[in-house]
Each structure stands twice: as C-alpha cells, then as structure tokens.
C-alpha cells in the first residue's frame, strides 16, 4: 500500500468505519443508561430536581477551596489539558472544515500559531499527569490498564497532529494519514472506555444534582 | 477577453510574501564578504528559490544597474550586467525565443562566461592561421 493509498483509506473507508462505531456505540450506551430508569421516589419533593441537576452540571467543574488545596495539581493540569483538547480539536481551521463537511456548518477558527502553542501545552500537561499518576501511591493503586491505554490513545492524536503540522520525521502524506488514523482509533474505543465520560458527565452530574435537589439539599 | 474580466491578483511588488527576499540579499552580502576575504566567488541560482510573483523583480530592483552591461550571442542571447554593487553580477541566459532559461547572481570580479575560453582561444589561433595561409596562397596564385 502506497502512502497516498494509506491516506485515501483513512480519509475514506477508515473514517466510515470509525464514525459508524463511534455513533452507534455512543447512542446505544446512552439508550441503555436512560432506559434502565430509576426507582420512583415516593418521598415528598422538597426542592426542584431540574434546578439542582442543572446547577450541579456547572458547579462540579469548579472545585471548592478545600478540594482545590488538597489536589491542586490534578485540578490545574486537568483544566489545562481538557481546555487544550477542546481548543485543538474544535478551533483549528482544518478540523472545523472536517466538522463542517459532516454537520453542514462551521465556526471561526483560532490563529494557527495559537493552536500550535496549545498543542504543546496540552501534551506537556498530559505527560505531567502521567508522571503524577505513577508517582502518587494512591493514584497508582487505583489505576487500571485501561487508564493507561486511554491516556495513550488521548495523547497520540496530539503528538501525531503536531508532527504532521511541522512535518517532522516522515513524509507528509504518511504523517497526515497516521494522525487521522490515531483519531479514528480514539473514535473507535471512545464508547467502550472511560472516554465516554465526555458525554456521560452531564448525565451523572445531573442525577447527582437532581437527587439532592429533590431532597432540597445542596449537592 | 477584455482585461476587466481577468481576476487581478492584488499582489504588489512591495508586499513581502515569502521570507526569501531578505535572506537572499543577505546571502549576497556574505558572498561579497567572502570575495573580499578569500577571493572566492559565489553563484546563486535564482530559479532554485521559491519566489512569489514580483519578488525576483524586487531583488533585481534593489541590486540595480551598475557600470557594465554586456550582451553575449551564444546559443541565444545572454545578458551579463554588473549591479550597482561592484562585484555583484546578474547573468541571464535567454533561448532563441528570448525567453529566460536561467538566471544567476554571481558574486565575483569577473563572471567566467565573459572571459575568453582557453579552448576557444586555441581554436581561434588555428583558425586565424588557416585564414592567413589561405590569404598567402591566394596572393601567390594572384601574382
């Protein structure tokens, strides 16, 4: 297979396969969670479920003072790499073109040098997080093989994207193809690993907040 | 087609589109320095550098026109000019249709192609000899 054939494959059939697994996986998992339902709460409502749920979705993103002091590193690095991922994935002009091709509309991009810098920052944050995970005894103890695998699959598109943009090490078509392939890998494992939290986070936070809201307590 | 229907690309000579104009001129300066220090000459192929429309003209404009302008008639026209900076020459080769086929900046005291070539001098010597022989023969026959 020539490198252009490889590139044509990841842009064509490879992307099809990845998007089918991604979309089907996410929808089926959501359907399973939602359709399982919850036991009706027979107690009298002391507050609003909706209000509590929505508040918690937002408020859980910002740690209270004690939590922050206890795990400042996790909070800061977490914010950096999640923000970095958002910016590099959704605000880079070529990526927006890809979204526009699928969903029919686009949005303004950030200047390329900003994306470039954010990529480096995000990669560094992810590396720091791995070191922290390994060095911290408690974290190391609760880490599974899946955690390391997911970490790898998350950082790969960043590294391959950086190499493809700067055209380092290999020929340009191969670099681009590897970058797209790494993203397809991410899409394929996404619904079946902890990566799914990107979607389910709103759901679980809403449940938590709604339960407290119903009881009329702060979540 | 009238000229108004042609899309005009708004690229001015003044716009610096690639980063190659300044480095190239700096390279010429370094080459001059080398010529002064070591007597070594340098040739730069203008066709090996990616230049935006108008950038070659920009480089030529900066270098300007100096004291020497020579025309060669060798397999089509060639033009050898010394720029306003002594020691910096522009050598342009044209084909029979007056299209530029190659262009070089030469930093040297005298571009090689202007010098009479040893092989040509030798050929000239024997040719001149033959001509003189012929003349002598003709004179003998005439008398």
């Amino acid at each position: 297979m020539s490198e252009i054939e490889f590139l044509n494959w990841v842009r064509g059939p490879g992307f099809q396969i990845a998007i089918i697994i991604f979309v089907a996986g996410v929808i089926i998992r959501f359907a399973e969670i939602l359709l399982l339902g919850r036991k009706p709460n027979l107690a009298e409502a002391k507050g609003s479920e909706m209000r509590g749920g929505l508040c918690t979705i937002v408020s859980r993103s910002f740690p209270d003072k004690n939590t922050f002091q206890r795990s400042a590193f996790t909070e800061v690095s977490g914010w950096i790499f999640h923000g970095g991922l958002f910016i590099t994935i959704f605000l880079f002009a070529p990526h927006i073109l890809m979204f526009k091709d699928i969903i029919g509309f686009g949005w303004p991009a950030l200047p390329t040098p900003v994306i470039d810098a954010m990529t480096v920052v995000t990669i560094i944050a992810l590396l720091a997080i791995l070191v922290h995970r390994i060095n911290n005894r408690a974290l190391r103890f609760i880490s599974t093989k899946e955690d390391y695998f997911v970490w790898l699959i998350t950082i790969l598109p960043l590294i391959t994207g950086y190499l493809a943009f700067h055209r380092i090490g290999m020929t340009a078509p191969t670099l681009l193809a590897i970058h797209i392939l790494s993203v397809e890998l991410l899409m394929v494992i996404f619904p079946f690993t902890k990566l799914m939290h990107a979607f389910t986070i709103t759901l679980s936070r809403w449940y938590n907040g709604a339960i407290s809201g119903y009881r009329g307590v702060e979540s | 087609m009238s000229s108004s229907t042609v899309v005009q690309f708004n690229i001015q000579i003044g716009d610096e589109l690639t980063f190659n104009v300044k480095p190239l001129l700096n390279e010429v300066k370094h080459a001059l320095d080398k010529l002064i220090e070591t007597g070594q000459s340098t040739v730069i192929d203008l066709r090996s550098i990616p230049l935006a429309p108008g950038e070659e003209e920009k480089i030529l404009n900066v270098l300007g026109l100096g004291e020497v302008q020579a025309r060669l008639d060798a397999l089509g026209l060639s033009e050898v000019i010394e720029t306003r900076y002594a020691g910096v020459w522009i050598v342009t080769h044209y084909n029979d249709d007056d299209h530029i086929i190659s262009r070089f900046i030469e930093v040297t005291s005298m571009p090689e192609i202007l010098c009479s070539q040893t092989e040509d001098i030798m050929a000239a010597y024997s040719r001149l000899g033959l001509t003189l022989n012929d003349e002598q023969k003709n004179n003998v026959e005439d008398s």
Binding site: I4, V23, A31, A172 | P50, L51, H99, I101, S102, D120
Partner: protein, 365 residues
C-alpha cells in the same frame, strides 16, 4: 539529429565539430545545472562529464497514455538547449515522433535493441493493461510483451508521467483495464519515476540529463523519484505558505482572500501531501504554476491522486459522504439501543421478581 557515425564521439568533440564555442557550452552547462536543480558549484563537474559523455540510444515506448507527457517534453521552453539534448541522444524509437511507420518503425526498435543491447535507455509513458491485452497494442504486440521484451536489454528505465510511474488515470478506480505501472512489472532493472500529469518539461529533461551526464541513477526517494526535483513538497516551497502558517485562507474562488492570494488549503489544495518541483521550476517559460494561477494543487505527481475524493475537498475532510453514514448509523443504533434497553429492563424486572426476601424468621432457623 546527428548521423550515426557520431555515436562513438564524445559530446565535446561533436559540439566543437559543429562550431559551438566553449562559451556556449558553459551556458549550456549552467542552464543544465539549474535544470537538474543542482548547485551552481556543480557546473564545472557537469562541463567535464558532458565533455566526455557518449551519445546513448534511447527507445521511447508509449502505452495507455494521452501523449501529454510527450507534448510537455517537446514544448520544453529551453528550445536551443533542448535541441542540443536531442542532438546528444539518439532517439531511435518513439512512435509519435518518428517518421517511420509500420514494419520499418518496429524494425528501428529491434535494430536499436540489438546494436545497443545492455546499454540503451528505455523511456516509458503510459500504464500497461493486464486485464485484456487487446486494450492497448502496438503493431499487434501487447503492451506487456513489448515492455518486457524491450526492458531486457535496457541499462535503465525512466517511467515518465504518473501513468507509467504509478498507474495514473487508467489505474483510477475501478481500473477497467487492470492498468499497472512499469515498476509493478519490472523488478530487476533500475527504474527512475518521473511522475506528474504531465511532468514538468525541465524535470523530464533534467532527469535525462542527470542520467546521461553522470551515467548513474540520480538519488531517488522511497517511491523512485529523483530527490533533486521531488525532494520537497509543493507546500514547503509554496510562496503562499506564510498565509497557511498564519491561518489566512481563501474560502471560495472569488472572495477577498482569493484575490489577496491567500492559502488555498480550504479549496482542496493537495500541496501539503504532494512532492514536485512546480513551486520553483514553474510552467510555461517559468511563468506560473497552478497555485500561482489561483487553483489548488491536484497532487498529480503522487500515486492514486485520482482516488482521493473530490479535488476540491480539503485534506482534513473525509472523502466519503459521512453525513449520510451518521444519519443511518444513528437511526440503526437508536433502534438497537431501545431493543437493548427493553431487554435490560426485562432482565431487571425478572431479577426483582425472582429475588428471595430473607426475613428475620428465616435467619432464626
């Protein structure tokens, strides 16, 4: 062309006999160096090599092609220099350019092969049909047979154009003729690929000159192309590159960005993945090249450039219609999800129903 008696003479001798001055020869060498994308420091070496080079026999075979490559070569803009190159080689067979036809033409090829066995240069343009040999024949000989027969005695093969180098347009899906490249069939001879649709004229002549001047293969990249011309991508040498780096793109062919000469990435430019010399060598007497004319690069010097989806889809876009895939998948997955959900619910209810409660009395037993 020079007559056959000159074949044993060196180029230097031939030129001097023709009254071409050393100065003209120097000009020729300087232009050749520029053409071969070599450093001007190489000019004296080229002069020396050419002085002592001998005139080789060249056989040119055309298979499934459009003659665009020959058109490109014969319109190479260095007419004077070009005629010298043609003087320098003995083009013994080229069925588009030669005067002879029919048996005489084939005779010329066979004679050239016999007389120069093991020494002649074989140039091929066009791909070879492997499905039905009847798709393309010359004098009743299938392309495959002619190629294999002629390649046997060749010193080296130059595959000119993307068709000969990688299959090109005949090879594009669904490849009705079963077209393959020269390199797919011949493994035991040095092959130089000079792809492009068509290749840039001076890249063709530059590659030939490099082989003829130094008698050796130029340095090739991983898919057989001379590095001197195909070493850098269009993107890396594009004068519009600074706009790409800044993120300034033309969105359509006639917007402000297009008029200001911004990057054509969003209009489907394949410059970032295409290796060729267009951006520096340019076309039509060095006038311009596609991107300079405001059109994105099609990637014609790369294998399978015809199968990369629309020419106007950006490199970061998927080539297929993903919107449709997403809608169908979502519909199917929603149905499957509901079914699975119902099953899970049933399981849950059953578990509740069959659950045995343990009472204090049970424990007392």
């Amino acid at each position: 062309m020079i007559n056959d008696s000159n074949r044993d003479k060196t180029l230097g001798e031939t030129l001097r006999e023709q009254g071409i001055s050393r100065r003209s020869f120097l000009k020729f060498c300087a232009t050749t160096a520029s053409m071969m994308a070599l450093s001007p420091a190489m000019i004296p070496k080229i002069a020396h090599a050419l002085e002592n080079a001998r005139r080789p026999s060249v056989i040119w075979l055309s298979f499934q092609e459009c003659t665009g490559c020959t058109e490109s070569l014969t319109r190479a803009h260095t007419t004077t220099i070009e005629s010298l190159i043609f003087d320098f080689i003995s083009l013994d067979y080229h069925h588009t350019l030669q005067a002879a036809s029919g048996h005489a033409a084939e005779q010329a090829r066979e004679t050239a092969m016999e007389e120069n066995y093991g020494k002649y240069l074989l140039i091929v343009d066009g791909s070879i049909p492997m499905d039905n040999p009847g798709y393309s024949t010359i004098a009743g000989i299938s392309n495959y047979d002619m190629l294999m027969d002629t390649a046997k005695g060749a010193a080296a093969i130059v595959a000119v154009g993307t068709c000969a180098a990688y299959g090109g347009i005949p090879h594009a899906k669904p490849n009705p003729t079963g077209a393959v490249s020269v390199g797919d069939l011949i493994k035991d001879k040095p092959i130089i690929n000079v792809p492009g649709c068509p290749p840039i004229p001076v890249v063709i002549t530059g590659t030939l000159m490099q082989f003829l001047t130094f008698g050796s293969l130029p340095e090739l990249d991983h898919i057989g192309r001379p590095k001197a011309f195909y070493g850098k991508s269009i993107h890396d040498r594009c004068y519009r590159r600074p706009f790409y780096d800044k993120g300034l793109f033309a969105e359509t062919f006639d917007d402000e960005g297009a008029k200001k000469g911004w990057c054509l990435y969003k209009l489907g430019c394949k410059g970032p993945t295409t290796y060729n010399a267009c951006a520096t060598t340019k076309w039509n007497d060095g006038t311009s090249f596609p991107i300079e004319a405001g059109h994105p690069c099609l990637g014609c010097s790369e294998p399978d450039f015809w199968d990369g989806g629309s020419f106007y889809k950006a490199l970061s876009m998927p080539t297929e219609n993903i919107t449709r895939t997403v809608i169908y998948t979502a519909a199917g997955a929603a149905a499957a999800g509901v079914a699975l959900g119902a099953m899970n619910r049933h399981k849950k209810n059953q578990a509740v129903a069959t659950h045995n409660r343990t009472s204090i009395d049970d424990l007392k037993k």
